[in-house]
């Protein structure tokens, strides 16, 4: 083996070793940014939030200015114009912190609007604006349950 050839082999060996080492030193990137999971709440404000480890979900209840200004401990008669939007995400482990759970993809968006009927009576209207569930929430009883649930959430202790 000529001296030049030996030199070349050593050079290739060193380069390959260095590249492998540098590659091994890189961060473990087993995830990527997921902008589609960011909910565009527009002008809505956070009313409260909760999580559920049985269903592996995290929820945020938003409200428009009128809904979000209802005091936490008020026995409230809902007023026309209030809008409540409940966004539910799948809960997943935070890839950057073992010990933390974080919102993943959106699974359900429900909306309740306090409307007036032609008779003048006040009526909450329930609507699912997005769902990845196959068992759709339909039927008067189920809708009624969801309306009651959403409207009975208390405002979070904020600042």
């Amino acid at each position: 083996m000529t001296r030049m050839r030996k030199k070349r082999i050593s050079y290739i060996f060193l380069t390959v070793s260095l590249s492998l080492y540098l590659q091994a030193c890189g961060d473990k990137s087993n995830f990527q940014v997921s902008p589609e999971d960011l909910y565009d709440s527009k002008d809505l404000h956070v009313i409260t939030t909760w999580f559920n480890n049985r269903h592996q979900t995290i929820s945020i209840l938003y409200g428009n200015e009128q809904a979000a200004s209802v005091p936490a401990n008020d026995i409230h008669v809902h007023q026309v114009g209030e809008r409540y939007t409940l966004v539910t995400w799948h809960q997943q482990g935070n890839p950057l912190w073992f010990g933390g759970q974080i919102t993943g993809h959106i699974t359900l968006i429900e909306q309740v609007d306090i409307n007036t009927l032609a008779s003048g009576a006040i009526e909450p209207h329930y609507n699912v604006t997005y769902s990845e569930r196959t068992d759709s929430i339909s039927g008067t009883t189920l809708e009624r349950e969801r309306i009651d649930y959403i409207l009975s959430r208390k405002k979070i202790e904020h600042l």
Binding site: A24, C25, D27, K28, S29, N30, F31, Q32, V33, S34, P35, E36, D37, L38, Y39, D40, S41, H45, V46, T48, T49, W50, F51, N52, N53, R54, H55, I58, S59, I60, W89, Q91, N94, P95, L96, W97, F98, G99, G100, Q101, I102, T103, G104, H105, I156, E157, H158, L159
Partner: protein
């Protein structure tokens, strides 16, 4: 003739180098192992893992080979070990409160989980220090169990009561509390089973746009992120867990000139509903940054929406 002169030159240089190394080594104060005040007292299985993977740097039981004590390598090893002990020393475990011990262990487990510890330059020379998946799993199980058994005494930030004093809502680094974030968009919501809290994380328009465009390495100047933290409350019959008492609010403000020494992020935390600024002096930021280095893949922000590729 040339060869003889050349050889002589090489021998002289070698002798000078050896003498120089000997002098430097002799003059360098040796790295010592001071007596332990109180060792980590976890289960034997966990102690075994920590001893073979962590103790050389994170305890007063550092085992040095002869070549570790030769300058200039000894300088590097000495500096690394002393710094490691400052961060976490299992030989002074008794000097930490139970809550701080748990916090240190959670951080250590996350360093291991992300493959940042033991350091690669260490495992290159000490391959036996590498942790297997089973060992990492054992550490994770231990810290989860430890946290679950101590839930009756949740670790809370130590807060000075200031009810009869005027509230100063300014962090030692000059960041003042503001409430504009209540009109910002939510980036993510999280909950932490390591410390029993739940959070809503808001971003201003610049931060939200950065997430939408994946422009987070680095985040643009002007981005601001606010994390509102509550203690996790009781669980209802359906399994829902709602926020309990307000715990703290944390700010991250992006300004790569002003906050140069902390990778361009200014940190602030305001504890309890009194919004008591956290940190005795500006050096608290370094602790914040050291922890946030774990999130370097996300521009030092832990909580943004992610998915598997």
């Amino acid at each position: 003739m040339y060869n003889a002169a050349h050889k002589k030159k090489v021998v002289v240089i070698l002798i000078i180098s050896v003498v120089a190394v000997w002098i430097l080594t002799t003059l360098t104060p040796p790295l010592t192992n001071p007596p332990a005040t109180g060792e980590f007292d976890g289960p034997d299985s966990v102690q075994r893992i920590l001893k073979h993977a962590c103790y050389d740097c994170h305890s007063n039981h550092t085992k040095l080979e002869w070549y570790h004590q030769v300058a200039p390598l000894s300088w590097k090893i000495s500096a690394d070990v002393l710094e490691a002990r400052r961060h976490l020393n299992f030989s002074h475990w008794d000097s930490l409160s139970a809550a701080d011990q748990r916090a240190k262990l959670w951080y250590a487990v996350n360093m291991v989980e992300q493959g940042r510890m033991p350091r690669r330059d260490y495992t290159l020379l000490h391959p036996s220090a590498k942790l297997s998946e089973r060992e990492v799993g054992a550490l994770k199980n231990y810290i989860v169990a430890l946290t679950n058994t101590s839930k009756t005494q949740p670790g809370k930030p130590i807060v000075k009561q200031v009810s009869d004093q005027p509230v100063v809502r300014e962090s030692p680094n000059g960041i003042q509390y503001f409430s504009d974030y209540l009109h910002w968009k939510v980036i993510v919501a999280t909950n932490r089973f390591d410390n029993g809290t739940m959070r809503v994380i808001y971003g201003n328009d610049i931060a939200v746009k950065a997430v939408q465009e994946g422009n987070i390495n680095p985040w643009p100047n002007g981005a601001a992120i606010v994390k509102v933290v509550w203690d996790a409350g009781e669980q209802d019959a359906d399994g829902n867990i709602y926020p309990g008492a307000f715990n703290n609010v944390q700010f991250m403000i992006r300004d790569d000139e002003r906050f140069k020494r902390t990778e361009g992020w200014g940190f602030a935390r305001f504890n309890t509903s009194h919004l008591v600024p956290y940190g005795k002096n500006v050096s608290f930021e370094v602790d914040c940054m050291n922890c946030h280095r774990l999130a370097s893949a996300n521009g030092f922000v832990f909580d943004i929406p992610t998915k598997k590729p």
